[in-house]
Every structure is written in C-alpha cells, then in structure tokens.
C-alpha cells in the first residue's frame, strides 16, 4: 500500500542558469513544485520556456543552480554524480521524445539495461523484462532490433524500459513528439493505464490534448511557473 498523499517531489526556489561565452541564460527561476505519490502531472508551455530543463532536473540528469530539491524525502540537489546515477537507476524511469533506444541492442537487451546496471541477477532480469514487455504489449518482439519496429512500438519498448525497474516516478519528455496521432494516442493511453495502476507520472508536453491526460498541469513561461490547472476528468 502506498500513501497516496505522501510527497514524492518537493522543489523550493529552484533556478537554473546556463553560462555560455560569458552570457547568462536564466532557464528556470523560482520554481516551487510539489508532486505527491501517484499523481499524474504534466508540464506545459511554449518552446524554450524551460520544460525540458525542469524535467532534466527532476530526473537528476542535470542539477539546479540554486534552490532545494527533495526526492522521496532525500535532498538531491547537491548529490555526487555517482549518487545521482544510482538514484536515477533505482527511482526514476525515463521516456524520451526520440525513444533513445540503443540501436545495437535488441528489444530485450534495451529493456534489461537498467536492471543490468543495478546488478540484478539474470533470472530476475529475465522475469522482470518479460513482465514489462507484456505490460506494453511488446513481449512478442524480444529479439527484434529497434530499427525493425515502428515508432509507436519503439516508444512502447521505451516505456517498458522505464517501467522495468519499478521506479518511484516515470519522467516522460514529449513522449508523443515523434509519433503520429494514432500512435501518440496509444502511448498516452498506456501512460494513463500505468497511472491508474498507481504509477507517478511527470510528463512534458507542448500539446494541450495530451496535457489534459494529466490530473495536474503546470504551465511554464520564461522559466517560471505561471499557472497550475487541475483536470477533473482524469481517470475517466
């Protein structure tokens, strides 16, 4: 049983400044954000507003310039690289716009990758990979390479890879961006099913149709949260 009201992510005053050739670019400013376990949250906004930067920081792919960030009760803003890597591996599942499957690994090997890095035994890996692929309906393509799959199928495999390690939260960065509408819908349905089964999902999208799948939507503009909306129909 998970405590549905427990706070999973808490950001206070997070900012991100990029320094390029002596030019300061404020990508994020004064981000205050709280995500509870089991929530489905989308981050929306126009291109260049800082959505992906925020998701990168949430996913520990990047670190904030300032502010505090607590993940599952642990401050993670200033962790070492190896500690961040360990947390990413165990507690976060990523889904990318461009799928980012490794072309030279089979479907099975791609999904197995997070468990390999975690040091999971081969037998357990096999069982978990099989289960994850079954959840996304790709168990019949174990030996295929990504290039042998359609875009939608590739993204399903990417979702399976994100799920396989039972992460605390799924981070999805424009998961439908490289898909046609039919496949995009299918992937969104998949995320909704996962959420219904208890998964915490945090998704970046610029498409309002898909933002509406989430129960909360954070609107970013020029690196600041300008609005937050609640969707009534989530789970319907």
């Amino acid at each position: 049983m998970t405590d549905a009201t427990a706070t999973l992510i808490k950001m206070e005053g997070v900012k991100k400044v990029f320094l390029t050739d002596e030019v300061e670019t404020h990508a994020l400013s004064e981000i205050h954000l709280e995500i509870k376990k089991g929530q489905y949250i989308s981050i929306a906004g126009p291109s260049g507003c800082g959505k992906s930067t925020l998701l990168s920081i949430l996913g520990l792919l990047d670190s904030p310039t300032g502010g505090s960030y607590t993940l599952n009760g642990q401050s993670v803003a200033n962790l070492s690289i190896s500690e961040r890597t360990r947390i990413r591996n165990r507690e976060i599942g990523f889904i990318f716009q461009a799928f980012n499957l490794i072309g030279d690994l089979t479907v099975y090997e791609n999904v197995e990758l997070p468990l390999t890095y975690r040091g999971t035994s081969a037998a357990e890996r096999k069982q978990k990979v099989q289960h994850a692929l079954e959840r996304v309906g790709m168990a019949h393509r174990l030996r295929h390479y990504p290039s042998q799959l359609s875009g939608g199928q590739q993204q399903r495999v990417a979702v399976a890879r994100a799920l396989v390690g039972d992460p605390l939260i799924l981070m999805a960065d424009e998961p439908t961006g490289n898909l046609d509408s039919k496949n995009g819908e299918a992937v969104m349905e998949l995320l909704r099913d996962l959420h219904r089964n208890g998964a915490t999902v945090c998704m970046v999208t610029h498409d309002q149709r898909y933002a509406n799948f989430a129960e909360r939507t954070i609107h970013l503009f020029d690196g600041r949260i300008v609005e937050e909306t609640q969707e009534a129909h989530v789970g319907a």
Partner: protein, 820 residues
C-alpha cells in the same frame, strides 16, 4: 563477471557492425604489435639468451680496454675489448677471492686431416676448468682433465655436435678415434650437446697448455678470461676487487699493464656486444614509435565512433550506468580490437622472423650471439598479449573518457543524433595527428640516415671494384711449414700458379682483406725508432698486413709518397714497410716518415727494424670504426706468413675461378684446406649485414609509420569534413567558392602536419646525432634527411588532406544545409 561478458558480446557486435573501421584498426594494430613482437623476439635472443647454456648470470668476463695516451695509442671503435696476457691471468687466479673459479680460452683455427677430408675449423683452446665452471656437460665422453693443460699432454679434442654430425655422421664410437689437428694426432675425448658452440663459433675445443715461457709473458694478450662469482658476491664487489688487483699490477708492471683498464662485465653483455645492444634498443624504440602511431590512428577511429554513439552513452547514463561502466564498455571494445590486432600481429611477427632468419648468411649467423634462439616463443606470445592490452587501453582511454563526459540532458534532447561537437574532442584528435606526424618524422629520418649510411659503406669501397675480386684463406700447418723458406716457397708458387690462370688479371696476398672477420680490427703494437713513448705502458697500435708487392695495384691503393713494396724487397734486403696516410698523420705529425724505422712490438723486442719506404692511401677496414685505421704493410718475402688471404683480380664473375684456384692450390698441397672462399663484395656485405638488417628494418618501419600517419591525417580530416558538412553548406550558401572550401579544409589539416613536423624535427636531430656517433657515413645534419623527408611527409599528408577537402568542395549546398 557476467556484466563484463555482456560488454564483450556487445563489443563484438560493434566491431562487426563497423567493419571498415575495425579492419583499419586491426591492420594498424597488427602492424604495430607484429613489429614489436618480432623485435622483442630478437631482443630476447640477443640480450637474454646470447649464450647457449643456462645459469650464465654469475659468469663475468674480465676484459681490458685501452687507456688513451698522448702517444696517440687508443682502442678503435666502441668495442675496444681485449684479451689479457697469460701471466696476468695466472696472477688473477691466485689473488681474486670474489670468484670461486677463473677460466681462460683462446680462439684458434686448425686444419683437420687424417681420417677424413682436410677441413678448417674454428676451435678454442680452453683451460680444463672451463666446462665445469660454466656448468656444461658433454653429450658423449668427458671434458678435459687438469693434467691435460701440460704442454705435450694436450693432445685431446672435444667436437661440437655439428662437427661430429658432419664429419663423423654422428658415429657413437667416435671417442675411439684419433684425428690429425694441424698435422698432430689428437684423441677425440668428447662431443658437446647440440647447439652448444661457446665461445662462438666453436666447432672444437682443445686444452689450453701454457709452457713456462708463455706463463711469464705479460705483453702478449691472447687469453680471454671468465670468472664465476662466489655465492653472495655481487658483480660490483667482484669488479671492484679485480680492478684493485689490476691497478696493483699496473704499478708493478707499468710497461705492459699501465695503458690498460680492466672492464669486468656480465658474460651476457660481453657476448652480445655494445653495438648489438645499441641497435636492438634502437629497433625497440622504433617499433615502439610505430605502435604509438598505430594507437593514435586507432584512437582517432575510436573518437569518430564514440561521437556517433554519444546518444547511446547518454541513454546508458540516464538509465543508471555510471561513467565508469561506459568507460569500461569502450575500453573492452578497444582491448578486443587490440587482441584481434595482436592475433594478426603474431602472424606478421612470425613472417618477419622467418624473413630475418632466411636472409642472414650462415657464415655470419654463426658469429651472432643468440641467433639460434630467435623464435616466437611463449614469452613473445605473452609480450604480444601485454602490449595488446596496453595498446587497447592507451588507444581507448581518451575516446572513452571524452565520450562518457557528454552532457546527458543535451544529448537526449537532441534526439539521439549526437551532441554538439566537443572542443576537447577536436583538440585531442588534432593532438593525436600532431603526435603521429612527429613520431613518423623521427622514424623516417632515422631510417633515412641508416639507409644512407649503409649505402655510404658500400660506396666507400667502390675504388677497388670488390665485385671482381676473389678472396680465399688458408693457414699453413706449423709442423709442415715451420721453416720460413718453405712458407716463402709455397707462397711464391701459389702466386705464380694462380696468376697464370686464364682470366686472372692479378694474384696477390694479404693477411686480412678489409672487412674480414666481420669488420673486426686486429691491431698490433708497434714502435718507432728514436721516438720513445712519453708515457710508460702506453702503446702505438696499427693493423699490420703482410702483402705481396702487387697488393696495392690489385686493390687500387694509390701511392702518396715514396715507393711501393717491390719484388726486390726480399729476405736478404733491408726490411721495408709502407704505411698508410693515417699512420703518417697520427704518429709522424709534422715529420717526413720516409726513411724512419718502425718495428712490430716493443722497441726492445726481438725483430728487425723496418724502413718506411712509402705512404699509401687509407683503406676502410671496418664499418664500426669511423676513423681511418693506421696500417703497416710489409712484404711476404721478408715475413713469410702461415695464415694468409689470397686475392685474385678476375675478369668477370670471381666465382667462376674458384675451382681453378682450388685445383692450383691442391696441386701444391692436397691436404691444405681452403676456406672463406668468396668474392670481396660478399666479404663486405657480410660484414655489414647487421647494419643492412637494421637499415632495412628501419626503412620498413619508416614506410609503415608514413602510411599510418597519412591514414591518421586522412581519417581525421575526413571525419572533420563530415562533422562540418552543415557549416560548409552555410558557407556555400553565402557564396563560398570551391577553392575557399578546399583551402578551409586543407589549411586545418596542413596546420596539424606542420605542427607535427616542427615538433618532430628537433627530436629527429637528436636521434641523428646519436646515430652519427655510431655509424660511418651518417651525418647528424644530413640535408637530404632533414629537408627531403619532412617534405615527403608533408606531401603525403597533403594528399591525405586533399582527398577529404575535395569531397567537401564538391558538396551539394542544399544537401549540406540539411545535414544534421
């Protein structure tokens, strides 16, 4: 372990996927590892196993070298190591406590006759304790007994395995046989084991017997002394004790010992010799350079592959793969590449070794310490494995560290098509090209200088047209030719008979032709009347040749002053001598040598003074010694020799006259064995075969380095063009012409080349200075090497840059703009 296996499997997949890159890397590494393994095998043979018996670690050679004096006497060349006199050896035996035994040996050549065909063999006179001291047992029979060191009781002989096999068809009853050695009967008492030929190139051993007179001599240095260190005594301790003894002897016997300094050295070092060691080290450094260039090539290929796989590494890192795991994955791929390269390298090394062994003349090979042990053994396999892992790590470490450092967020955001171009990566790849060019230049210059020096060695002898000279040796047995008149008569008849053979333009004789005995120098002490040595114990030395008067004309040695020797310089005439210009220069500086009197040996020694009647041009005697060597020529009529070299000037191929020469000499003495029958040009090439090998190997390594460096430049520029395709598209859309794009690419490639040349030139100059001190004909500031070879490298690099530049210049601007 399981995850390593996963990395290995994935690595195999990657290597198969990028076949062209894999083949380029495997070939480059194969060449580098192969060359290193082959040279390692040579080094192992020359430096670690030069003696054909085990446990030589405690054996020390006690050799003397000259001390330079103001009288002009000094040793010649870098291998100035000399034997010691019998009395010195006997003193050492009594006084030395650091050694549990001292043994002596002396080189000899004897004629075997009697039970089989006459045969000349290399034998060594050894003390009875020689074999026990080095710990060698015979295959058959026994070694020598102490009483066999007594003069008159030294009528025993031990055969080498090769001589036993060749002369007696491996007869197991050979020990019952008696053979004639220089006309005297010797009992065969032993046969040594196969492969044992120490001291090289021994074919037989007889006891060293010193008579009372000889045991007291301190001026006749002909014994080589070995000592075995007592357990617990170091070489330094033993050497210190021996040097103290030697210094005491120099004080007591200054006339004979003052001008010498004892140089104890480990037997292995003594046997290998300074030059072999230096050239082996030179080749090891050269192949090391080739391997580094190959590694730089592979690193550049790896950089390109890593760049193409940036998104893969970002995904791995995003999913929890640590940076170390990514680095490990790449290093495993790199090491696998090297291991495949090592497999190819082992084949190449085996082929190299076969080529090296096949092209060495047997007459030379038997004088090269360790030659018989050259092979690709288990140590060579282990060495190949170690350098493969080393190569894999050094060629893979920089690409893997840089590749694993890419920004994950940036890379993933760009949808897996690779992150923005890293400046670090560019700089590193540029640095690798610069290093490749610099290393290749150093190797090329080294190779060029050695090849030129080798050609110089051949050309310097052109004046006497060695290709139409036939040389052969004989040594008259002491028993039969004890009387000078008998020797003179024999020599005169030989000259007359051979001179009348149809097609022989001149028949002459000399003690040693230039470059005989591999170019070793046999100099002897001599004195000048009225010109005593200013320093006690010092000595003047020169090569002393006993020649027929027509020798000078036969070898086109020009007269500089006075007259040549003539037929009238006979036994009853005043003793005459002709000297070389270098002797006149060195020992008669500012004086006219003509009419002065000289004598071999010390002034007070027995023997007549010779009057200097002429001065002739110098002849080059050795490739080792850069300076001309003072030489004294005297007539065979005034000192009829036992040992001589017959020289025939022939019309055409000298080998056509071998049978006629044999027949004429056999008609005089059917039992006299002839040996070293070869054209003079072969004598020269065999004496410089070592440097020919080194020069050839350096030339091949230089060519490999040039090829690998140009492949490196081509690879980097090709990749640079593909990376900059979009930029080139923008430039073209803004009006850049074909020439502009061409020069853009060429400029960046040639800048790296010029940087490499600028770094390589000073290093090459230092190498050239080292080589010039080693070898005749090599100039440290050789313009051809320092202008021509950099230009060659520049031109080849230019072509390597031009090909990708031309591709860039012919890009379709529209497609280039769409390029990711």
């Amino acid at each position: 372990m399981e995850t390593i296996w996963q990395d290995v499997r994935f690595g195999v997949r990657m290597l198969i996927k990028h076949r062209i890159a894999t083949i380029v890397c495997v070939v480059a590494l194969g060449l580098g590892i192969g060359a290193n393994t082959a040279i390692f095998s040579l080094a192992e043979a020359f430096l670690l196993h030069p003696v054909p018996f085990e446990n030589s670690d405690r054996i020390v050679a006690l050799v003397d070298s000259h001390v330079a004096s103001q009288d002009g006497g000094a040793g010649f060349g870098p291998q100035d190591l000399n034997a010691v006199a019998p009395a010195t050896y006997l003193d050492w035996k009594k006084e030395a406590h650091s050694f549990d035994d001292l043994a002596a040996y002396a080189w000899d050549e004897v004629n075997l006759t009697g039970d089989r065909e006459a045969q000349k063999v290399q034998d060594f006179k050894v003390t009875a304790n020689f074999f026990p001291m080095i710990g060698v047992q015979p295959l058959l029979g026994r070694t020598f007994l102490p009483e066999e060191e007594e003069p008159g009781r030294n009528q025993e002989i031990i055969l080498s395995y090769g001589l036993w096999e060749q002369r007696y068809a491996s007869d197991p009853n050979v020990l019952k046989r008696v053979m004639k050695v220089d006309g005297r009967s010797f009992n065969i008492v032993g046969v040594m084991k196969k492969g044992f030929d120490f001291p090289m190139p021994a074919e037989a051993w007889i006891p060293l017997a010193l008579d009372v007179k000889e045991r007291l001599r301190r001026d006749n240095r002909w014994l080589w002394v070995l000592g075995r260190l007592r357990p617990g005594v170091t070489l330094a301790e033993g050497a210190a004790e021996m040097q103290a003894i030697s210094e005491r002897q120099a004080e007591i016997y200054p006339d004979t010992n003052k001008a010498w300094r004892l140089q104890p050295q480990p037997l292995r070092q003594f046997i290998t010799g300074t030059l072999t060691r230096q050239y082996t080290v030179l080749l090891m450094v050269a192949v090391g350079f080739v391997l580094l260039i190959a590694c730089a090539d592979v690193a550049n290929v790896q950089f390109a592959r890593v760049t193409g796989r940036t998104s893969e590494f970002a995904v791995r890192t995003a999913l929890g793969g640590s940076r170390w795991r990514v680095v490990r994955q790449l290093l495993i791929e790199s090491i696998m590449l090297s291991l495949v390269g090592a497999a190819l390298g082992l084949f190449l090394a085996q082929w190299d070794i076969q080529m090296i062994l096949a092209h060495m003349p047997p007459d030379v090979a038997r004088f090269v310490a360790g030659w018989k042990t050259i092979r690709l053994d288990s140590n060579a396999f282990l060495f190949a494995l170690v350098i493969a892992v080393f190569s894999g790590v050094i060629s893979g470490i920089a690409p893997s560290l840089v590749g694993s450092r890419a920004s994950i967020a940036e890379t993933l955001k760009e949808g897996g098509r690779g992150s923005s171009v890293s400046r670090t990566r560019h700089r590193l790849r540029g640095a690798l090209v610069v290093a490749e060019v610099a290393l290749a230049l150093v190797l090329l210059v080294g190779a060029g200088l050695l090849v030129k020096g080798f050609q110089g060695l051949l050309n310097v002898n052109g004046s006497y047209a060695p290709q139409t000279l036939l040389t052969l040796n004989y040594s008259l047995p002491e028993v039969q030719y004890a009387q000078a008149a008998a020797r003179l008569n024999f020599s005169e008849q030989i000259m007359r008979r051979l001179g009348s053979v149809s097609g022989v333009q001149a028949a002459s004789m000399v003690t040693h032709v230039p470059y005989a005995d591999g170019g070793g120098i046999n100099d002897r002490e001599f004195s000048i009347e009225g010109h005593p040595l200013t320093q006690r114990g010092a000595a003047r030395t020169a090569i002393v040749e006993t020649v027929a008067p027509n020798y000078f004309n036969t070898l086109n040695i020009a007269l500089r002053d006075g007259r040549l020797l003539s037929d009238s310089d006979g036994a009853e005439s005043p003793q005459a001598a002709v000297i070389s210009e270098s002797l006149a220069r060195r020992y008669f500086s500012g004086e006219n040598p003509l009419g002065r009197h000289i004598k071999t040996g010390k002034a007070e020694a027995e023997g007549k003074w010779m009057t200097v009647v002429g001065v002739v041009n110098d002849v080059r005697y050795s490739w080792i010694v850069k300076d001309d060597i003072p030489t004294i020529y005297r007539s065979f009529r005034q000192a009829p020799p036992f040992y001589t070299t017959v020289v025939l000037r022939t019309a055409g191929d000298p080998l056509k006259f071998v049978s006629a020469a044999r027949a004429e000499i056999a008609a005089m003495d059917a039992n006299l064995p002839l040996y070293n029958i070869k054209p003079m040009d072969k004598v020269i090439t065999e004496s410089i075969v070592g440097i020919a090998y080194v020069a050839t190997m350096m030339a091949v390594l230089g060519a490999i380095a040039l090829t690998l460096a140009s492949v490196g430049v081509f690879g980097v520029m090709s990749y640079s063009v593909s990376e900059r395709t979009h930029e080139i598209g923008i430039r073209m859309s803004m009006g850049a012409q074909t020439g502009n794009v061409l020069s853009l690419v060429l400029r960046s490639g040639m800048l790296l080349t010029v940087l490499g040349l600028a770094i390589g030139l000073p290093v090459a100059f230092l190498l050239a200075r080292a080589l010039s001190s080693l070898l005749y004909g090599v100039q440290a500031a050789d313009p051809a090497a320092f202008i021509g070879l950099p230009l060659l490298l520049f031109a080849v690099a230019g072509i390597a840059c031009y090909l990708p530049a031309r591709r860039a210049a012919h890009l379709d601007p529209l497609q280039a703009l769409r390029h990711d």
